[in-house]
């Protein structure tokens, strides 16, 4: 019985090997009641690259990011039009399970939000809930992911302790490890370092670069220097529309749009 349901679930969710890899956005629009938050967004996010989404406050950066794991689903009054495809499969198509989608698309928020569970459970909770690992494998997974984000040495002696005694930076690393525990194909980062100290910020930036060897990364940031340091591509939004999508080098050295030039040079934004 679970076999049949499994087939139904996987067909819609992963649609293997048909179209292009990466995240593809087609004519995406998002409205909240009568307000237009995003309109006519069409762009490609290349697989296993870091794309920085930049633009002035309120331009729709976070709204775009949250469209890619369907976080708008719960908010009454939010309407999404157009399509978003991951590895060629439309994530807004009927029959797509939002939970399965979010297993493949991880997210990190502006402020760390560890769960009120032990440090180890924070990491193993989601893989266990999705049935990805057994209880025994979970312990191994916890060590693996904590090591990956460089937190293992700091917390190995207190895996059963509350995460709230960790520093803000350590909490954010824990949340990153939590997202990585589901082995996501895409990682959405919403200003992940805006509340952190410079040392942790640098550490996370290094991790992002390393992760991009296997994960497609979209990062919203206010910090242009950060975007320049870590991104391969840049998507520049203003007032809910795409102004320019370019490689990082082009965007920062020779932008194609006058507004991009103004933004890069600090005259707007």
């Amino acid at each position: 019985m679970s076999e049949a349901m499994g087939l139904a679930g996987t067909r819609a969710e992963s649609a293997e090997g048909t179209a292009t890899e990466g995240v593809s956005v087609r004519n995406l629009g998002v409205r909240y009641r009568d307000r237009v938050l995003l309109e006519g967004i069409s762009t490609e996010f290349r697989p296993r690259r870091v794309t920085a989404i930049v633009g002035p406050t309120g331009c729709g950066k976070t709204t775009l990011l949250r469209s890619i794991n369907r976080m708008h689903d719960q908010a009454p009054g939010m309407r999404v039009t157009g399509s978003v495809s991951i590895d060629g499969a439309d994530i807004y198509a009927p029959g797509v399970g939002v939970r399965g989608l979010r297993r493949r698309v991880g997210m990190l928020f502006q402020r760390p939000n560890p769960f009120p569970q032990s440090i180890a459970d924070n990491i193993s909770l989601a893989p266990r809930a999705h049935g990805l690992v057994s209880r025994r494998e979970a312990a191994h997974l916890v060590e693996e992911r904590l090591t990956e984000v460089g937190l293992w040495e700091a917390v190995r002696g207190r895996l059963n302790a509350s995460p709230f005694h960790l520093s803000g930076g350590q909490q954010q690393l824990l949340c990153l490890a939590r997202a990585l525990a589901l082995s996501p194909d895409v990682l959405l980062l919403d200003e992940p370092t805006s509340s952190l100290d410079p040392a942790t910020t640098e550490h996370i930036e290094r991790l992002i670069t390393q992760l991009s060897e296997r994960v497609t990364i979209l990062i919203v940031t206010h910090n242009l220097a950060q975007a320049a340091r870590i991104s391969d591509d840049v998507l520049f939004l203003m007032a809910g529309r795409v102004v320019e999508a370019a490689s990082s080098r082009t965007f920062f050295n020779d932008p194609g749009d006058e507004r991009s030039r103004a933004y890069v040079s600090g005259r707007i934004g």
Partner: protein, 280 residues
């Protein structure tokens, strides 16, 4: 002129504050003073049977009915609060919340009457623990619902988003992410509801009636005693000892309730500190 007016205004305010503070102190002092001759351990080991001056049957009855109310109104109230906070939305949610609040406005004597007519008579349970528990549960349900609702709603939104972003199911989100921080407030709500139940009299008069014996086994057809009943019935009796017993029972009731209120508050304070921790 201006300052005289101010002084008079603040003097009146100070009197008002005194009027708020004074009665509670005087009530406790009166209870202790009148009950003093009876305040010894045997008070708790004596029933009111054959003119006995003790609260044993009262305390046992109150504890029993308190436990019963916790069993009946606890799960229903917590689930109802969970539903209003986490599942319902829009108009149904507003209506359910509104009517649950309005239920708290039903006078307790009316609940007692309904309990008598329906539970004791129509359903034929007689004066009994079951009738008392059901009637009191109706009375405290709104408090449990409200506190549960507030408990879930005070969980920071960032935790919900974190859970959603990991694709956790609703049940897992509630159990593992929302419940731990909400639990202390839910528990303190239950404790406060229990305090209210302990102090009620009117609904019990018509559902539990009264017994001088310790509570017997059996859910139906078993009238039983309870602390507020000891106060009510003994106060109306002519002898001096009975009169003192009314005050002693009142003192025991008040102490129990005050302990519950303080416990509830301590739990709430700890919970607040914990929730403050959740938002880094």
């Amino acid at each position: 002129m201006r300052h005289t007016r101010g002084a008079i205004f603040w003097l009146l305010c100070a009197i008002a504050l005194a009027v708020i503070v004074f009665p509670l102190i005087d009530i406790v002092v009166t209870l202790v003073r009148v009950a003093a001759p009876l305040l010894r351990p045997s008070l708790f080991a004596t029933t009111t049977q054959a003119g006995g001056l003790g609260v044993e049957n009262g305390i046992l009855g109150s504890l029993l009915v308190g436990a019963g109310v916790l069993i009946v109104a606890g799960p229903i109230g917590v689930l109802a609060g969970l539903y209003i906070a986490e599942f319902a939305s829009g108009r149904p949610r507003a209506l359910l919340r509104f009517f649950s609040e309005v239920l708290s406005g039903v006078p307790s004597i009316v609940v007692g009457y309904v309990g008598y007519v329906v539970l004791v008579k129509a359903l034929g349970w007689g004066y009994s623990l079951l009738a008392a528990v059901v009637a009191l549960s109706m009375l405290i349900l709104p408090y449990v619902v409200k506190n549960t609702e507030v408990a879930f709603e005070s969980v920071p939104r960032s935790l919900r988003e974190g859970a959603a972003a990991l694709g956790l199911s609703r049940l897992t989100t509630i159990r593992r992410v929302l419940l731990p921080p909400a639990l202390p407030l839910i528990v303190s709500g239950l404790v406060l509801a229990e305090a209210i139940a302990t102090g009620e009299t009117a609904p019990l008069l018509f559902t539990a009636n009264w017994s001088d014996l310790n509570p017997q086994l059996g859910l139906t057809h078993n009238p039983f005693g309870y602390l507020t009943g000891t106060v009510y019935y003994s106060f109306n009796l002519p002898s001096k000892g009975e009169h003192q017993l009314a005050f002693a029972a009142a003192l025991v009731t008040v102490v129990m309730i005050l302990l519950m209120v303080i416990a509830g508050r301590l739990i709430t304070m700890r919970a607040r500190r914990m929730t403050a921790n959740l938002e880094v």
